[in-house]
């Protein structure tokens, strides 16, 4: 494992990614200290220019401090990113493990089911779910999870297909271990690395999805979100560019950092692939 960390730490992109992501996490945790008070409240005169001494990212049409909305918006991004990824992993790992382990018609049915979810416009499905169940952090996490599990199921299935015929699994079967025990105790721990790589990309995608939903007005009305700020500044972009531009930069940096981390993990886990330039 020390080889893994050495390779990971020597990857410039991954280290930068970790640094940016750490900053975002700190902003989210210490939001009430960094930008005290309610981010929705009027903090200054409306449409204060960016780089103003009082409000260095300016204020929006309603006088909300853009920097405060960014600090507080980090929270919902991380909650939805993390929560939806965990839920999607639960669905994807279960279905993928069952499909890969059982094979046969069960595999067939489950993979068709997965393919179905991959080939429909998942963003519209997410939109429909959040709209009908009313926007809230819970419904957003559910909707994002429902549209993001298919890649996990495919990856886990492929791993299980190749691992299930290995000797250590046969040994477990001979020893009389139950199916659940074999799936979760024997095979899953050996299939973890691709799941870890995938998870970090999934958090990034989930954050983008949450932002897109909030942008269209389907965010949780009780929490400040970057997507909401970009959407609310949209109609005034000609006269107050900063209200949409800065939350977008925050979103970009967060997503980029997660992608860099994911690639760093992937490269560090498969050094051979990386040398061939296939990472």
């Amino acid at each position: 494992m020390s080889g893994f960390w050495k390779r990971f730490a020597s990857n410039k992109g991954a280290v930068i990614g970790c640094f940016i992501f750490a900053v975002v996490v700190l902003l989210a945790i210490f939001a009430p200290l960094i930008a005290p008070g309610d981010p929705w409240r009027m903090a200054g005169p409306p449409r204060t220019d960016a780089f103003d001494p009082e409000h260095w990212m300016g204020t929006d049409m309603l006088g909300r401090d853009v920097w405060a909305t960014i600090v507080h918006g980090a929270r919902v991004s991380l909650i939805v990113g993390g929560g939806a990824t965990l839920a999607a992993l639960l669905i994807g790992v279960t279905l993928g493990a069952v499909a890969g382990y059982c094979g046969g018609w069960i595999d067939d049915v489950l993979m068709r089911f997965t393919e179905f979810f991959q080939s429909i416009p998942s963003f519209i499905l997410a939109l429909l779910i959040v709209a009908i169940f009313q926007p809230s952090v819970g419904s957003i996490v559910t909707a994002v999870a429902i549209v993001s599990w298919p890649p996990v199921a495919r990856v886990v299935r492929a791993e299980f297909l190749s691992l299930r015929s290995r000797e250590f699994v046969q040994a477990a079967v001979v020893l009389g271990q139950g199916t659940t025990q074999i799936i979760f105790g024997q095979i899953l721990p050996n299939a973890l690395s691709p799941i870890v790589v995938l998870s970090s990309f999934m958090v990034a995608t989930a954050i983008l999805l949450e932002a897109a939903l909030s942008f269209l007005g389907l965010g949780d009305p009780n929490v400040m979100s970057w997507g909401f700020m970009i959407g609310s500044g949209r109609s005034t972009i000609r006269i107050a560019w900063w209200t949409s531009v800065f939350p977008g930069v925050a979103l970009f940096l967060t997503v980029l950092s997660l992608n860099l981390i994911g690639e760093g993990i992937s490269d560090a886990l498969n050094p051979r692939l990386h040398d061939r330039g296939e990472a």
């Binding site: 179905f116 429909i120 416009p121 963003f123 939109l127 429909l128 779910i129 970009i230 992608n259 330039g277």
Partner: protein, 328 residues
């Protein structure tokens, strides 16, 4: 592939496409069913004006006094006869609303789809050819950037830079208002309006396909038949074009076909940003008015659109690639 084998393949793919659309309708049906409360009031309640007549109409459309499976059957039968119900808000049938907006969305998504594939494959091929050089790194950075940028934000930045600051391209809509262009000038006018939205929608997928093409080409380049081609003294250019690229882009196109649904879904965001008069913009309007009947119709129609694009790419691949297995 022989002609009969091709038609067999086509038949199986059509069946699969049909099954996906059927599944979408069932999913749409059960989402409304799972919402808390009476489905008729879920659909009507928030569309602003729920009079008794409209509620009765909804109950009849969904057959709400019947058992669930009968309700599903009634709903499926309705959709099969292209009856998507009624939009109370605008007092028109959902079908006519969608049909009116569909051409604009087909134009936007196909432009974005073709652009993302063409640009993505070219960038990926250049990067793979010069692997390890500055060009390769530049493509990687470009791909990473667009892969991490929310498309609705890219759209806003494009409007800010190319319309507001530089005044090069129109920001909103599909036509110049009050100009009544005809013939070629009208086509050019639409094309000018199309550039920014299509770029916005396509750049994210361009990034994705560039990365895929690059790794796919490097993988093919390490295979034996390429070594053979090199060993028999073929120059590098033809090897890359005829041996590597041709084999490497097939999985990329296949993946793009599966991803078609994502591009169609993304058009909601892009059409909203650019006020593009398509189905996506219609979905946003339906969303604002909580017009769920219309939203369900958009979900089903756009899914069908994604399935058709996927079908077309599969047929193209089957025709281009002689090695493909005929049992699709």
């Amino acid at each position: 592939m022989t002609l009969s084998a091709f038609f067999g393949f086509l038949g199986r793919r059509l069946l699969k496409a049909f099954a996906v659309v059927l599944g979408v309708i069932i999913v749409a049906f059960f989402i409304v069913r799972m919402a808390p409360g009476d489905p008729a009031s879920v659909i009507a309640g928030q569309s602003g004006a729920a009079d008794a007549q409209f509620m009765a109409q909804l109950r009849q459309q969904f057959g709400l006094d019947q058992p669930v499976l009968v309700q599903l059957w009634i709903y499926l039968k309705g959709i099969a006869s292209l009856d998507f119900g009624f939009s109370h808000r605008v007092q028109r049938s959902v079908l006519s609303l969608i049909a009116e907006r569909l051409p604009a969305t087909v134009l936007l998504t196909s432009a974005a789809f073709i652009f993302s594939l063409a640009a993505g494959i070219s960038l990926g091929a250049v990067a793979a050819r010069r692997v390890g050089t500055v060009t390769d790194s530049a493509v990687t950075v470009l791909a990473l950037t667009f892969y991490a940028t929310p498309i609705f934000w890219v759209g806003l930045i494009f409007i800010l830079v190319f319309s507001v600051w530089l005044n090069w391209l129109p920001a909103l809509g599909m036509f110049s208002i009050g100009q009544d262009y005809t013939g070629l000038t009208a086509v050019l006018d639409v094309a000018k309006h199309l550039i920014l939205p299509a770029l916005t929608l396509g750049l994210f997928y361009m990034a994705l396909y560039a990365r895929l093409t690059r790794s796919s080409m490097l993988e093919v380049a390490s295979q034996d038949f390429v070594r053979t081609a090199r060993a028999k003294g073929l120059p590098e250019g033809p090897i890359l074009r005829r041996h590597v690229l041709r084999n490497a882009i097939l999985p990329v196109i296949g993946f793009a076909g599966v991803q078609a649904g994502q591009i169609v879904g993304g058009s909601i965001l892009v059409e909203t940003v650019f006020s593009w008069p398509g189905v996506g913009r219609l979905a946003f309007e339906a969303l604002l008015a909580r017009d769920y009947n219309l939203l369900l119709g958009v979900f089903i129609v756009t899914s069908a659109m994604a399935v058709i694009i996927n079908l077309i790419t599969d047929i193209v691949i089957a025709l281009v690639d002689p090695r493909i297995e005929v049992e699709g």
